[in-house]
Assembly symmetry: C2
Homo-oligomer: 131 residues x 2
DNA sequence: TCTAGGGGTTCCAGTCATGGGAAGGTCAAG
DNA sequence: CTTGACCTTCCCATGACTGGAACCCCTAGA
């Protein structure tokens, strides 16, 4: 398989796949003409990485998850720990975004949004009101 | 005021303040010794930017907001439009994170997290289950 | 046989909003 | 006079790509 086919089937840009090789996430073989020669296992790994990235795992998380995936003697506790740590990060980010949303929608609701210059959004940003 | 005092009072790292000057968000005067000489208005602007950043506005948003803030003839509609666009981005990000959280907590809940290798998290990432 | 096109390859630079650290100038206190 | 806390500029690194240039390879059609 050439890179384009893998890209289409894994749902990742070819550029991203080259990058993943560069940082050692995958090691596709090479054909005689220098083209990358992907096997099914490479495709499988890339799809795995793609899904992990889709769940917000970092590249380093993906590296660790792949290593666990390939380690037949893994303990599921190790995987779970990784996932729970990530879940905690997601929840923190959610809290942060929800706080932003609350503050910002309060300001937006207070703003007339007409042709006049008076604007609670700007005064809100100007005074120290937003924790 | 030197940069350290402004940094402390605005709640921003000195490095960040230098960067804001570099990209033209602020233009502090200079003392004879080459030190930046901040005025109250600079501090005020920096605090404004800091709060806007805290609400997740990009630097370019901040530039636009500052321009509106300083434009006495602005229309509050322009400010509101900026804020609403940002609110939409926040909501999209919230949706995305919530979807991640749902999928991931489902996987985590299904995982025993013991010493055995069987792990629904890994099989979940391996099969195409996670939209 | 030539040529066009659609692959592929490497390498370099840019993104966003900083952060880290080096090398050196300035200033107030002891 | 020295110490230590400031200040300055400059360059490099982050994460996870993305874009583009310059070049090679392969197949199909005129």
């Amino acid at each position: 398989m050439n890179i384009k086919e893998v890209a289409d089937r894994a749902g990742l840009p070819a550029k991203t796949i080259r990058y993943y090789e560069e940082i050692g996430l995958i090691r596709p073989a090479r054909a005689e003409n220098g083209y990358r020669a992907f096997r099914e296992t490479d495709l499988h790994k890339l799809a795995f990485i793609g899904r992990a990235r889709g769940l917000g795992f970092t590249i380093e998380d993906c590296r660790a998850l792949l290593a666990l995936y390939e380690d037949q003697a893994r303990a599921s506790a190790d995987v779970k720990a990784l996932a729970e740590a990530h879940l905690t990060r997601i929840e923190a980010k959610l809290q942060e975004l929800q706080a932003m949303k609350r503050t910002l929608s309060g300001l937006v609701a207070a703003c007339a949004g007409d042709g006049r210059p008076d604007c609670p959004i700007l005064t809100g940003l100007s005074d120290s009101c937003c924790a």
